[in-house]
Symmetry: C2
Subunit: 353 residues, 2 copies
């Protein structure tokens, strides 16, 4: 049995917002077994995202030993490749949730990860990635028995967390979980004082309705909310149900939330998902980097309005839009494959806000 | 959202062994909806157990408001009845795991309880009982996102815990849980330093192989192990597999475990379980009270040898054996329906060992 007795002061804990300064961005390299004939195209999408993020901050690319050589060839010398056993390559979900700790250090919350409620044993490598990343960095691990994924939560860095019922309380992840248990676990691990529960998306196959396909904080008290793009009446109703909760909610400090529209993409019946996955046409599934935003594009007319809305929400950041057809067909976007490692204060930059 | 910020020093934590002094024993009163025509017989079994335990220590009987009057009539004035919403009446599993805390107080670990991996919503009242008991006593709650039941763990009070794979890692409770996650959660909540993982019982319908039908600590380093009683070759093989692990194991202090035999009951084909439950013919499913043991009997020849083995294991305690036909038909024994509340040190009894 491994001992988890902390040797440092790990409380209080705070999960910084994604817009706070990063030390790096963690990603994973796609696996041949899952992408089959689409592997080369998937690798190209991952590489373009990595290169775009690397303009703003260091990227640390995990690669299964079996694919590390391919990763290094594709990425060149500017991006670090770290070998670690992987089943798949969605670091937002399998990776740790980094928190700031009481001694002004970092710790890594390591969720129980079970492949988005999938088969019990198919994701044993990815289930160890949260710990693996922490050990690579030498930061303490905070294990959590909650089945959770980074894409299923959004934080404002100031005590508020968004999550969805269709993920958190799904019997494929946490059968019988009570709301108070979930809230207590977010409080313990991430320092959360208020959880806003969105209904989620019962029809979204794959992740059961991740928040990172619905909305994201842009600062405390304000959100970008992806509006329905049309062509899917059931999806529009789900979208409205999630919006209604956010419009009525208050955050950890009792503030109502200001919602800014991010115009969504229309349904694209011609675009198919890979295997069982649905095509992910979410624009809000972007990554906030140091000084930049790396956001999805699908080669459609709606791309430019989405980009404009994101630029307006983050006027001081450079917005880079990347076409991610294969990644989207695999069921995810750019937020899904990235995981920020917060920067710690330095003498030159003593305060992180 | 409820706040769980502790106002007291809750670390380090230690779950006392069942043989340490108790303040009380918590039980629950059976529900008409579940027992149907067997209700009166079930009530009689529960009442006999409560009266037997009450010879040794106070009993606090929870009763759903709908059945509190029946409980009071059956139990008389000597046993306290506390109204609390209940679905069922197995306090070992739905109740809290009491731990001693850093300030020499008590706290209550409140597991995620989901009705032994059953339907997601059928046990919402019982899922709140752990917290309800803690609030009744005014002790801090330590919520755990682990789906767990008190009957699925056995502790020696000195850092060692026994648990079974077939419960802990069952997809109906904790899909995708890793061993290190489970061990970390037992360390955090109960102060455990070493978990001994038994295979459990894949054939045991109902609880999927609780440890309290297999073995129990009688002191640190020593166990009563219930031997196979015959008449069920598959059960005998499972029994042997569990025994083999215990024979090879060492505890938190590196000691091998001394195993004492508790001769099991033979299969009783004539005795049927209620509904979907199997008849519980376990003798090791007893309760250790202050100065006493309250153990099951089935009205068969094997009862006396079992009683003798328990008496030998606890020479200083009075052993009371109670026939529990209806309770056993409901799938459980005496340990399943009882939950000890540890006593705190007093000026007269300053040390608890």
């Amino acid at each position: 049995m491994t001992s988890f007795a902390p040797t440092r002061d790990l409380t209080p804990r705070r999960m910084p917002a994604e817009w706070e300064p990063h030390a790096a961005c963690w990603m994973g390299w796609p696996q041949a077994a899952l992408w089959g004939g689409d592997l080369k195209a998937a690798e190209a999408d991952y590489a373009r995202v990595a290169q775009a993020v690397a303009q703003f901050e260091p990227v640390r690319m995990l690669a299964d030993p079996s694919s590390a050589a391919r990763a290094r060839r594709a990425l060149g010398n500017s991006i670090e490749v770290i070998e670690m056993p992987l089943d798949d390559a969605w670091l937002r979900d399998s990776g740790p949730a980094f928190v700031r700790t009481g001694d002004a250090g970092l710790a890594a919350v390591h969720w129980r990860f079970n492949g988005w409620g999938g088969a019990n044993t198919a994701f044993t490598r990815d289930a160890a990635v949260g710990r693996g990343v922490a050990e690579h960095l030498g930061v303490p691990v905070i294990p959590s028995a909650l089945a959770m994924e980074g894409g299923a939560i959004a934080v404002d860095g100031a005590g508020t967390l968004l999550a969805t019922d269709t993920v958190t309380f799904n019997a494929n992840r946490n059968p019988g979980l009570s709301r108070s248990h979930a809230e207590a676990e977010f409080a313990r691990t991430l320092g959360i004082r208020k959880v806003i529960w969105l209904p989620g998306d019962p029809h979204e196959y794959g992740t059961d309705g991740h928040i990172d396909g619905i909305a994201c904080f842009i600062r405390p008290g304000a959100l970008l909310f992806e509006t329905d793009g049309g062509g899917d009446p059931a999806g529009a109703a789900i979208n409205a149900a999630n919006r209604a909760v956010l419009e009525a909610a208050t955050d950890a400090d009792g503030r109502p939330l200001e919602l800014f529209d991010l115009p969504g993409a229309p349904a694209m019946p011609g675009k198919q998902g890979v295997g069982d996955w649905g095509y992910c046409r979410s624009y809000v599934n972007f990554y906030i980097a140091n000084g930049g935003i790396v956001m999805p594009g699908f080669g459609i007319k709606a791309d430019s309005a989405a980009r404009a809305a994101v630029q307006q929400a983050f006027p001081d950041r450079e917005v880079v839009q990347i076409r991610i057809d294969t990644l989207a067909a695999g069921g995810g976007g750019i937020h899904c494959i990235t995981q920020q490692e917060p920067a710690l204060p330095t003498p030159e930059s003593p305060e992180i806000t």
